[in-house]
């Protein structure tokens, strides 16, 4: 299209997406009147665009994300990008994973977070900057938590948090409406850590693993309806075929000075 043409495909894409200025727009329109090849490109693109908007309209594809988006941003937790401490954690994990593997071969794993070969473990970077595994499940405000998962086969993961007000926060997947595809393996850190904010009280983290893709809204609704009945985050259960749910109930205390 570019050989002998004034405009290349990028120009035409800018035109069809309405991204170019009026001068360029007029020039492209004039050019398309004389150039069947460019005109066809624009027509085809417009036709495919229409098909796309019919198949994946804004209302069902993006607008529905509003609630999830809102909950992830308003929530008391904030997602953070990969942090340097994560790499330090990764180094310490090598030892932990090695130990975990040795323990796995010598004795059964006794943990309510690990079911068979699927589950989560939690590490925390305390306010002094040290990384530790908190067996008592007590955290402090402004600490960073890192989730590690273990899975084989149940590779579709949703990680959410729920507090005593019944608010559900989706951590994984990030702003998507179906589950995060997790790589098989043991003690794999999730890409982002979670920074605890000022909330104080019980908090339930719930990892749901499944062999099939999960819809975030389904899991979210199950949690909310269960909570409406029981008002007890500790008793929340997720049901589903080929689904494993791993609750991690912790308590957040105010940061000590």
């Amino acid at each position: 299209m570019t050989n002998g043409h004034v405009f290349d495909k990028i120009d035409l894409m800018e035109y069809v997406t309405n991204s170019c200025d009026d001068k360029k727009r007029t020039a492209i329109e004039l050019h398309c009147r004389q150039c069947p090849q460019c005109a066809r490109f624009c027509r085809e693109y417009a036709r495919e665009n229409d098909g796309f908007l019919n198949a994946l309209p804004f209302e069902s594809t993006i607008a529905g994300l509003g609630t999830i988006q809102e909950s992830t941003t308003v929530l008391r937790f904030r997602k953070h990008g990969r942090k340097p401490w994560l790499f330090a954690l990764a180094a310490s994990l090598i030892l932990t994973v090695a130990t975990f593997r040795v323990l796995q071969t010598s004795s059964p794993v006794v943990s309510n977070q690990i079911k068979g070969e699927t589950g989560i473990t939690v590490y925390v970077q305390n306010n002094a900057g040290h990384v530790e595994k908190r067996d008592n499940k007590v955290f402090f405000t402004h600490e960073k938590i890192q989730f590690l998962y273990t899975c084989a086969g149940y590779n579709n993961l949703i990680l959410l948090g729920m507090d005593t007000s019944g608010t559900v926060t989706i951590y994984y997947p990030v702003m998507q409406d179906s589950s995060y595809t997790a790589e098989s393996g043991a003690a794999i850190p999730l890409p982002n850590s979670i920074l605890l904010d000022d909330y104080v009280g019980p908090e339930l983290f719930l990892a749901v693993f499944s062999k099939a893709r999960l819809k975030v809204s389904d899991i979210q609704n199950q949690c909310i309806s269960h909570y409406k009945q029981t008002h007890d985050i500790a008793s929340i259960k997720i049901s589903g075929e080929n689904t494993i749910f791993c609750p991690y109930l912790c308590t957040v205390h105010r940061k000590t000075q």
Partner: protein, 163 residues
């Protein structure tokens, strides 16, 4: 629908398809592409105000979608298992005989992002060097050099992939 939703819908009608199309070409899965569309579109909404040159939106979209999809692939080993063996071409004449999926698979084994970009835009999007220069800033000479590097690395990569 409130005003911010209306603005978002307008942006979606403008760029949704371009995002989806790019993601679909890289991820080769409608479901994954839809997920990627949602993520990249949310990123667009977040960053739209800070994008100074709105006339450079197309390159921005390509870049954001491509980078996101590369990250998805990185975390999704399953992607590699989806490649069907009957789509694998021969080593010679990479431009004609290797399918888009295969090119992405092999290109992704190349750790150099510039080579990946040159390969992706040349063989999958089928842009010419001037167009690639617009999108990536690579000069035609650099693009040619990166494509040559890609072709030179093919036998080793294919051996590594046991093709």
């Amino acid at each position: 629908m409130n005003s911010s939703n209306t603005a978002a819908k307008t942006l979606y009608e403008q760029y949704g398809f371009l995002i989806y199309r790019t993601c679909l070409r890289i991820l080769c899965s409608e479901h994954d592409a839809k997920d990627a569309l949602q993520t990249v579109f949310c990123k667009l909404l977040e960053q739209y105000d800070s994008i100074r040159d709105k006339e450079r939106m197309v390159p921005w979209i390509f870049n954001a979608a491509k980078n996101h999809c590369y990250n998805v692939i990185r975390f999704n080993k399953k992607f590699l298992d989806k490649i069907e063996s009957d789509e694998i071409g021969t080593t010679d004449g990479a431009d004609e005989k290797i399918s888009a999926r295969e090119i992405i698979r092999i290109a992704f084994k190349n750790t150099d992002a510039k080579i990946r970009d040159a390969v992706y835009y040349t063989y999958v999007e089928q842009f010419d060097q001037k167009e690639i220069q617009k999108l990536t800033g690579q000069s035609p000479a650099t693009i040619r050099r990166n494509l040559k590097r890609f072709k030179d690395s093919l036998p080793a990569i294919r051996k590594r992939l046991e093709l």
